[in-house]
């Protein structure tokens, strides 16, 4: 009977070292809600106890119920017939139990039936759940479209949509992508028009809509006829009524439990969310922070599952008179996987906290403004945090999704031939991981998004502070290596900027973003190593390896690896 929260020492390590004091105090209005709701915490300690207890429930459901259904869900998949989508039997049970456990509105306010949890705790739940069944995240994780309605919708809209989402009666979908608007959402065509009374209607087609069969749809549509860019797009919410037709669901490589729908809107009545023209440039961008973290959590959960499978198999499989675990080459692979996994997790929870704090500060500032209180101090802090969130969110999505592919790849490799067979779970994990670096923005798009902050060196002050710190014993050697990586990064950055060549900068961005990530993660791991002896091993392998990688990144940039791009037509036969 594994509990995916309690059986995972690294998740527990992060949970115990999460400092959510400020975030929780902001979210709980200094614990004023306790008088109104019997499940609201009375102080920080009580809040943490609540989170721990609920994570135990998530861990129990994940490890003991959802995981055992995952293979059947993968095999059966979501089904489509006569315009109707049906989840796999196991998925239906999963949703039922998650609803019974009150987990479908984790970050929604209590007055709409939610738990009012910090985003970070919700993300931890997504990690645990994705380890059991990655495809379930695409339904469970969409509860946070409710958060977009809460933030930008009207009170009437909140009353109309949120309680049913929190109760698990309704699930949600984000209908953004269209046949000709994937990475380039500015090209969205789906038409939104008003009748004489000013009521809105939607007409057009959306494609690749995850959970598009959901009862509540957030739709990005062109409300300003004649416009062509993102400023002509608005965000709408509508019910999945008879005017919305599911035309087909996709036959996919992985995440079979999650139906990916093509939707046709035939003059569907819809409600405008917030202000016209803000659809993409404000609301979708805001939603993307959380959506990208959600996919990162999914990737992390898959990585954990794949690592567990590989370790278990290596300890059982005997060849040459011993277990393959005892063969140094295999042990070395497992160590690489473990270090990648743990470094991913450190980055992840640092990023979720950053997004969490950003959102809570935004709300706090709005509230203070409404009360006509001064906010200059908070606004300055919000600016800093937003910069960090803008960097960390895409960086996390990029690294964790790629790592998930790497870890499932290696886990399958450790299984040898059996890993290639359907009977072994690792095969499913490798398929499920493959989408994580594609949807919610491809890795290439994440690099573009992260590179702005990297080129501006937005963490310059943070790194300067870290460089001044003294680290004890063996850690000082690692701190020195991080200084060397920082020098390599600055040198490479200067080289790129001096060239004043945007094409070169675009292709060099990947190396620059990676170098920046070594520094950020490296310092996180150093700090962890200071409080946990075992983490010294993780920091050591990570940072030593990071130096080698940074040297390679720097060599690619300064060695003019990309010079042949100009001759691509001659090379690409």
């Amino acid at each position: 009977m594994p509990n995916y929260f309690l059986d995972n020492p690294d998740v527990l390590f992060h949970f115990r070292n999460l400092d959510l004091k400020e975030i929780t105090a902001l979210a709980e209005d200094n614990y004023a809600q306790a008088s109104q709701f019997n499940y609201a915490p009375t102080d920080y300690e009580d809040a943490m106890k609540n989170y721990e207890k609920v994570l135990e429930v998530v861990g129990d459901l994940s490890g003991n119920y959802i995981a055992s259904r995952s293979a059947d869900v993968d095999h059966e998949g979501a089904q489509f017939s006569e315009g109707h989508v049906q989840y796999a039997h196991g998925t239906q049970l999963n949703i039922k139990e998650l609803s019974q456990a009150d987990l479908m509105g984790m970050i929604l306010p209590r007055k709409y039936g939610g738990l009012n949890f910090p985003f970070t705790i919700y993300m931890m739940s997504v990690e645990l759940l994705s380890r059991a069944d990655a495809s379930l995240m695409n339904i469970f994780g969409l509860q946070d479209i409710g958060d977009t309605i809460r933030k930008f919708g009207s009170e009437d809209q909140r009353q109309e949509f949120l309680p049913k989402i929190a109760a698990g009666e309704h699930t949600g979908a984000m209908a953004l992508t269209e046949p000709d608007a994937g990475s380039d959402l500015q090209a969205v065509k789906l038409q939104a028009y008003q009748d004489d009374e000013g009521k809105w209607f939607l007409r057009g087609v959306k494609r690749f809509i995850t959970n598009g069969n959901a009862q509540v749809l957030l739709v990005l549509a062109r409300s300003e006829a004649g416009t062509r860019d993102g400023r002509g797009l608005s965000l709408f919410v509508c019910h999945h009524d008879g005017t919305v037709k599911v035309r087909r669901i996709e036959n996919k490589l992985g995440i079979h439990g999650s139906p990916t729908c093509e939707l046709q809107f035939n003059d569907t009545p819809a409600q405008l969310i917030g202000t016209r023209r803000f659809g993409l440039i404000k609301y979708v961008l805001d939603l993307m922070y959380r959506a990208r973290m959600g996919v990162s959590a999914q990737a992390l959960g898959i990585s954990q599952a794949a690592y567990e499978e590989a370790l278990k198999y290596a300890r059982e499989r005997r060849q040459f008179g011993k277990t393959i675990y005892e063969i140094p080459v295999i042990a070395n692979m497992l160590l690489d996987m473990r270090v990648l996994l743990e470094s991913n997790r450190s980055l992840f929870y640092s990023a979720t906290k950053c997004v969490d704090e950003k959102e809570k500060l935004e709300e706090f500032i709005e509230k203070r403004k409404a009360e006509k209180q001064p906010v200059s101090e908070e606004t300055a802090r919000l600016k800093q945090i937003t910069k960090a969130a803008n960097l960390l969110t895409p960086m996390t999505k990029y690294l964790l999704a790629e790592a998930s592919n790497k870890i499932t790849y290696d886990a399958l490799q450790i299984h040898g031939g059996t890993g290639y067979m359907k009977e072994f779970h690792v095969e499913q994990l490798a398929r499920d991981a493959r989408i994580t670096n594609i949807y919610e923005g491809t890795s290439q798009m994440q690099i573009v998004a992260a590179s702005g902050g990297v080129v501006k060196d937005v963490l310059v002050e943070y790194f300067a502070l870290k460089e001044k710190r003294e680290y004890k014993g063996g850690l000082s050697r690692l701190a020195t290596i991080l200084k060397d990586i920082r020098a390599l990064f600055l040198d490479s950055l200067k080289y790129v900027l001096d060239k004043k060549d945007t094409m070169f900068q675009d292709v060099a961005a990947k190396d620059l973003v990676e170098m920046y990530s070594y520094l950020y993660i490296g310092y996180l791991l150093l700090d962890e190593a200071e409080i946990n002896e075992r983490k010294v091993f993780i920091a050591n392998r990570y940072i030593v390896n990071a130096l080698a990688s940074a040297q390679k990144n720097a060599a690619a940039i300064k060695g003019e690896l990309f010079g042949d791009l100009l001759h691509a037509d001659k090379i690409l036969l």
């Binding site: 019997n38 499940y39 609201a40 915490p41 106890k49 609540n50 207890k53 609920v54 429930v57 129990d60 459901l61 119920y65 139990e97 998650l98 019974q100 456990a101 009150d102 987990l103 738990l115």
Partner: protein
């Protein structure tokens, strides 16, 4: 609207037996085994909660056991029980099924009006399956054992599908009735996050007394009042509260005596080999049939 009382029990987790669990004399060393919620009782609670979902009413869980049995009462509250009672007294210790069912039936009477009493078919520590039926007898109400499903439910009548050898039968009973359920009859619902947060601090009288013991600033009456006010008090019933015949309780009221304890070690003896052929297989099957392992 139907009110239900559910009999639940905390049991040693016999699925995790290790070397230190059995004492020299062959009895179970309970302190070495984790205590868990008897699974069939959880199914019984699920039945009661489903009745509540169907027609409304109240669900009350009761357990007779040591103070630490409050753990499963809290779990009942997390799952959806409206109330939970701890029936505890040193005088109840060492009870067999006769004495247990006597105390439980008195507690049920004391707690009040009900349409259903639910219980698991049996507890995994004793495996007697007697406490449910005996409790029904003492309450003077009909009983339906081995229930698999509640079919129809009317105001004063219920139709239940129960398992019998080789199939099932459908029986009807007037209410109130005691029903014991099988483990596959329903999946117990997960704990509700909201209830978990709301009731995580629920405490029985004995647990509150413990708090007071270590802290001279606390007074038990005040504390009890406070916990009751916040709906966090798990009512506790002792022999005095129930005003029952002590000679029928605990070890005194238990005619069952352990006659002998035998430590059985299962090990292979007289291994036989069969050749890997059709003939060999037939020989093996014959022997298995002869030993009544097959068939």
């Amino acid at each position: 609207m139907h009110n239900s009382i559910v009999l639940v029990k905390q049991v040693p987790d016999t699925s995790n037996i290790s070397g230190q669990v059995m004492k020299e004399d062959g009895t179970v060393n309970r302190s070495k085994l984790p205590a868990i919620f008897n699974f069939e009782d959880k199914v019984a609670l699920e039945f009661a909660l489903q009745i509540k979902d169907r027609t409304g009413g109240k669900v009350t869980a009761i357990t007779m056991g040591p103070p630490r049995a409050s753990d499963i009462l809290r779990e009942c509250l997390y799952m959806g029980a409206d109330d939970a009672y701890l029936i505890t007294d040193r005088k109840f210790a060492g009870a067999d099924t006769l004495a247990t069912s006597y105390v439980l039936s008195e507690a049920v009477k004391k707690i009040g009006s009900f349409d259903f009493v639910f219980a698991g078919r049996q507890a995994i520590d004793g495996d007697t399956a007697q406490v449910g039926p005996q409790t029904a007898e003492k309450l003077g109400i009909p009983q339906i054992t081995y229930a698999e499903e509640i079919l129809d439910l009317e105001k004063e009548c219920v139709r239940v599908k129960r398992k019998i050898d080789g199939g099932f039968e459908i029986v009807e009973s007037k209410l109130p009735v005691l029903i014991t359920v099988l483990k596959d009859a329903a999946d117990p619902r997960p704990l509700s996050a909201k209830r978990l947060m709301a009731y995580k601090g629920a405490k029985s009288l004995l647990e509150l007394e413990k708090l007071v013991e270590g802290n001279p600033l606390l007074y038990i009456d005040k504390l009890m009042y406070e916990y009751k006010n916040r709906s966090l008090f798990i009512p506790t019933l002792t022999a005095d509260d129930l005003q029952i015949d002590i000679s029928r309780c605990g070890i005194k009221g238990s005619p069952t005596k352990v006659y002998e304890v035998e430590s059985v070690v299962l090990a292979g003896s007289n291994p036989m080999r069969f050749e890997n052929s059709k003939n060999g297989m037939s020989q093996l099957i014959d022997i298995l049939l002869e030993d009544r392992i097959l068939g």
